[in-house]
């Protein structure tokens, strides 16, 4: 039961994008269509599970002082594997994700889970935690990608839905649309959390990223909040 909890918490209760506000860059950048969103989500999930498992296995070997560089190296290795795989078998996804495929390395979700969970827990819970967070990330990206593609191009996964009936709003697939849809989704998540008696998201951006523990820029920001 508790193992299932490790998996399920990432999907809604601790959704990495809407509740923890991590990994905002890829969330905004690749959700121009449902297909790209799914590709990004799956790539990040594979890296998350792989790095969580390896970091959990090595958690007693890695010295505390160099843990962040060690984590980054492990994550970068998995990203390179995924990158080579996507390049070889899914070239269209590779072109669509472009620079954001190698940038999975610096995705806060992955480093955050390594630091917060995998470095303190055994292998099986860590793998499930990674899988849950990955599924949560993928679902949110897919939701955002579908909304933006539907309004911006009138299609979902390339299939015409409202195209031909309603003039699509191009702006939704461009940069401002990304910020806007993300803002509205976070507002909805806050509203739902409020109804269920939970707190809305407090921190914005890097305040949640545990890579910057003890960073005074973040502390001063929280004091001002």
């Amino acid at each position: 039961m508790s193992l299932f909890k490790e998996f399920s918490k990432g999907i809604i209760r601790e959704n990495p994008v809407l509740r923890l506000v991590l990994g905002t860059c890829p969330t905004l950048a690749v959700t121009t269509s449902a297909k790209n969103a799914l590709g990004m989500g799956l790539a990040a999930t594979v890296v998350l599970i792989g790095s969580n498992v390896v970091i959990s296995l090595l958690r007693k070997v890695i010295p505390d002082k160099v843990r962040i560089p060690a984590f980054i190296t492990i994550i970068a290795a998995f990203v390179t594997i995924v990158q080579m795989f996507v390049k070889a078998f899914l070239p269209s996804i590779n072109d669509a994700l472009g620079i954001f495929l190698p940038l999975i390395v610096v995705n806060c979700i992955i480093l955050g889970r390594a630091e917060m969970f995998a470095s303190k827990n055994p292998v099986l819970p860590s793998a499930l935690d990674g899988a849950g967070m990955g599924v949560g990330f993928t679902c949110t990206l897919l939701l955002m990608g579908s909304i933006r593609e539907l309004i911006g191009a009138g299609t979902i996964f390339g299939f015409a839905v409202t195209a031909g009936h309603i003039e699509p709003m191009m702006i939704m697939t461009m940069a401002p649309g990304g910020f806007f849809v993300f803002g509205v989704l976070v507002a909805l998540a806050n509203k739902l959390a409020d109804k269920m008696g939970k707190k809305p998201v407090e921190h914005t951006g890097c305040g949640n990223c545990h890579a910057c523990d003890g960073c005074s820029a973040c502390e001063s920001k929280e004091e001002n909040a």
């Binding site: 390179t80 702006i171 910020f179 803002g183 914005t204 951006g205």
Partner: protein
């Protein structure tokens, strides 16, 4: 010269890293609350971007590429950047304490800032030369600074206004960012037309 100006202006305005490429969103949302911190953070980012490009370009062009190790790009670049940031921190603390006091607190944040890794990789995707890459990185940093400083101003206005409860905090910040980003759409293709 003209070509360099085009790259610089394009990187600052029409291809702004934050507002049209979505890189460095974390510090953009997290550290833009006060003008002074926003400015300090962007100075540090610009500094590290140019340094990182200066260091990674020769490594890729003269070490990885000729030995057919191009696939190691991601892993090598992130390690070089992480080391470089540590190194800069140590050098600044030892030799230029005033600069360290101004930028030091932002340095740990920068290793995991995707804008820095992003610009070093993008320079190769765009097939820039060494000088062009340096100019592009400088432009990317300045563009980041412009977005941060502008947005710090917008946020100080939001603080003073009455926002509906569900939109308080992050949602209204994102919607404001959408509007700022919308205004930057107006700059598209400005660089090529400006220096015709």
């Amino acid at each position: 010269m003209k070509e360099m100006l085009i790259i610089l202006v394009a990187a600052i305005l029409s291809e702004n890293f934050v507002l049209s490429k979505f890189m460095g969103i974390c510090p953009f949302l997290g550290v833009s609350k006060k003008l002074s911190t926003a400015f300090g953070m962007s100075c540090a980012v610009t500094f590290v971007m140019v340094l990182a490009t200066a260091a990674t370009y020769p490594i890729y062009a003269y070490l990885l590429e000729p030995n057919e190790l191009g696939y190691l790009q991601t892993i090598v670049f992130i390690l070089v950047i992480a080391t470089l940031v540590q190194f800069v921190e140590i050098v600044l603390r030892k030799f230029i304490p005033p600069l360290y006091n101004a930028l030091g607190i932002y340095l740990p944040l920068i290793t995991t800032n995707c804008a820095v890794l992003g610009v070093t990789i993008l320079n190769f995707t765009k097939e820039f030369t060494y000088t062009q890459s340096l100019v592009n990185s400088l432009g990317a940093g300045l563009g980041f600074m412009l977005a941060m400083v502008l947005f710090a101003g917008v946020r100080s206005r939001i603080e003073a206004s009455d926002v509906p409860k569900a939109l308080k905090g992050l949602p209204i910040t994102l919607i404001a960012a959408a509007l700022v980003s919308l205004s930057f759409l107006g700059f598209s293709n400005i660089a090529n037309n400006l220096f015709k």
